[in-house]
């Protein structure tokens, strides 16, 4: 069969060929198809495809009489490639005129199209394939299509008779006999083709813009994720205050974050203290570490001053500390006299003067605590009197008075923190360097254990059917706590 023959020839020259396809005819068909594909490269679009289909349809219409060379049709996609040589044998070629005015490269591209358009001969296939492979897989671009369009119009205008123009590439000799053939396209079809090309171009541009947008969004997203992870790592720990996230005021949320960071620093400084103590550093070096630890405490008191201004209730109700710590809370923090009482047994050996100093400290802190507590009691009483009283003029005035009284709470929390800070400083003054190091370690350990107690309590198994089981579980928990505390005590 002619096509078969041509196919083989075409195959030898064309680039990628589908050897695996069983149809011998298919080969013939495919050669220009592949060349068409090669030509398209990555910018294959449907505008040209449709054009090709239409052109093919035109030829089919023209070729009604001509039976298809083969009964079966190849894969559906290949139907779109109008390069069925036999079909177009009788179609007059438009051929050379189309390529008028084009450069060599585009000319070859155009010629491929025109070749598929008329496909008068089978012979052209090999030179066409040649051209296709020689062209650098150039994609069709606007200019080519427009020029092609122009050529088509030109063709229509000037009529069917054309010869190979000199503008045509030398490779176009393939046209050979019957180089001029008429494209039987009407104006409507041409307009539609043009519109399709235009639409295809627009969709290409849109797709490009969309992809670019997607890429930039992706980059932004990864950056945001990194920032979020960094922020999380820096400590959005709510610690024991789980579930408080939604109803925290900004000042409270900020303070919680800063407190979490302070706890981390505390842990780090305590390790430093511990290693310093066990490494038997000189007193001078140890003093530096201890002074750093005291400044660390000053830091949290300063943070609390700021927090008291923005959200005193957050501090006063103890929402910033764990439940177990909250049990022993006094006006928004630890009770200094209780801390001294806890420390008394742990600071041995002490000189007599130191013992007197410690007991004096306990005494004065107790007195100060009493005074502040009584002042706070008076504040509460005044509030109760204000709110419970009959509103004289209007409720708003009553509320205003109550508000101004409530504002005094900040002063009490500040004075309580001041008392705590002064107590720690006085401890530092009374004790020697090594004693102070042990003392601060004990304090840190103590509150660490309270915090651990809180989390153990929160995670304890709740129900059991038997009361014996309950007590057993409690015992187990106590054992765990004991073991934990023993580990810590052993460091002294």
């Amino acid at each position: 069969m002619a096509s078969h023959r041509v196919g083989e020839t075409g195959l030898s020259d064309s680039g990628p060929s589908n050897h695996h396809v069983p149809y011998s005819l298919f080969h013939g068909i495919n050669a220009p198809s592949t060349s068409f594909i090669n030509q398209e490269g990555s910018a294959f679009d449907f505008g040209e495809l449709e054009e090709a289909i239409v052109l093919q349809g035109v030829k089919i219409r023209n070729d009604e009489a001509k039976a298809p060379l083969f009964t079966g049709r190849p894969a559906a996609t290949l139907e779109m490639f109008p390069s069925w040589p036999t079909r177009f044998q009788t179609t007059p070629r438009v051929g050379s005129s189309k390529s008028g005015g084009e450069s060599t490269d585009s000319g070859s591209a155009v010629n491929t199209l025109s070749s598929k358009a008329d496909q008068a001969q089978l012979e052209p296939e090999s030179p066409i394939s040649k051209k296709a492979s020689s062209s650098d897989h150039q994609a069709f671009d606007q200019k080519h299509l427009k020029l092609q369009q122009q050529q088509i119009h030109q063709e229509m205008a000037t009529g069917p008779s054309h010869n190979q123009s000199s503008v045509k590439a030398p490779q176009e000799k393939r046209k050979g006999a019957g180089s001029t053939s008429e494209k039987q396209l009407d104006a409507k079809t041409l307009r539609r083709l043009a519109q399709n090309r235009e639409a295809a171009r627009k969709s290409r541009l849109r797709k490009k813009a969309y992809v670019q947008q997607l890429e930039s969004s992706r980059i932004k997203l990864t950056q945001l994720e990194q920032d979020l992870q960094r922020a999380r790592a820096q400590g959005l720990f709510l610690g024991g205050c789980v579930g408080a996230g939604s109803n925290l005021s900004p000042g409270a949320a900020i303070f919680d974050m800063e407190y979490a960071r302070w706890l981390e620093d505390d842990h780090r400084l305590m390790s430093e203290l511990r290693t310093g103590l066990h490494a038997h550093l000189s007193d001078g070096d140890l003093r530096l570490i201890i002074d750093g630890y005291v400044s660390h405490y000053d830091e949290i008191f300063q943070l609390k001053v700021v927090a008291a201004k923005s959200d005193v209730f957050h501090l006063y109700t103890g929402m910033w500390i764990t439940p177990a710590e909250r049990c022993f809370m006094w006006i928004g923090g630890f009770r200094p006299s209780e801390l001294i009482k806890m420390l008394i047994g742990q600071l041995d050996p002490l000189t007599e003067q130191q013992v007197i100093g410690i007991y004096n400290l306990q005494h004065t802190s107790t007195q100060a605590e009493e005074a502040l507590s009584q002042g706070l009691e008076q504040l509460q009483q005044a509030l109760v009197d204000t709110i419970a009283g009959v509103p004289i003029v209007d409720g708003m005035q009553q509320m205003a008075v109550a508000l101004s009284k409530l504002a005094n709470l900040e002063g009490f929390v500040r004075q309580a923190d001041n008392l705590r800070q002064q107590t720690l400083h006085q401890l530092r003054r009374i004790l020697t360097v090594r004693q102070a190091a042990r003392c601060f370690l004990v304090i840190g350990e103590y509150y660490g254990r309270l915090r651990a107690l809180s989390s153990l309590w929160a995670s304890r198994p709740r129900e059991s059917m038997m009361s014996e089981d309950n007590s057993c579980q409690t015992t187990t928990e106590l054992q765990i706590v004991q073991q934990h505390s023993q580990n810590h005590f052993s460091s002294y």
């Binding site: 009584q374 002042g375 002063g411 001041n418 002064q422």
Partner: protein, 128 residues
């Protein structure tokens, strides 16, 4: 026409001193020097109540000057503010032995670090 400002202290009533001095600061210092421990206070202030309780708890008998019960209390308050420098709430202000100690935080700090009791003993407010 002058009127008397009643000056109460815990335990006894002190007749008002009719002062011709118009300078409030002078008046402050004069009042402060007349007793071992003088607290400038406002009757409704809870922190003032706290500082009063502190001294009483130590066995001290402070003289209290209630600003809201003195007709020239505002001037004295302003003078106290100038004395202290800053003022988050002016009162209470404490004088011991005629010397300015300061506001509540200074009083607490001096009590904790052990300097308050010697001062009180020195001023004769404490004999134990």
């Amino acid at each position: 026409m002058h009127y008397q400002a009643a000056e109460y202290s815990w335990g006894y009533y002190m007749p008002a001193v009719r002062s011709m001095a118009s300078d409030p600061l002078e008046r402050v210092l004069r009042v402060a020097s007349e007793s071992a421990v003088v607290i400038f206070s406002v009757s409704s202030c809870c922190m003032c109540h706290a500082v009063k309780r502190l001294f009483c708890g130590m066995g001290v008998n402070p003289t209290v000057f209630e600003l809201d019960q003195d007709p020239r209390g505002k001037e004295i308050e302003r003078a106290l503010m100038r004395l202290l420098g800053n003022s988050p709430g002016t009162v209470p202000v404490v004088f011991i032995g005629g010397k300015l100690i300061g506001a509540m935080d200074r009083v607490m700090a001096s009590h904790i670090n052990g300097t308050l009791v010697p001062l009180l003993k020195e001023a004769g407010a404490l004999w134990l």
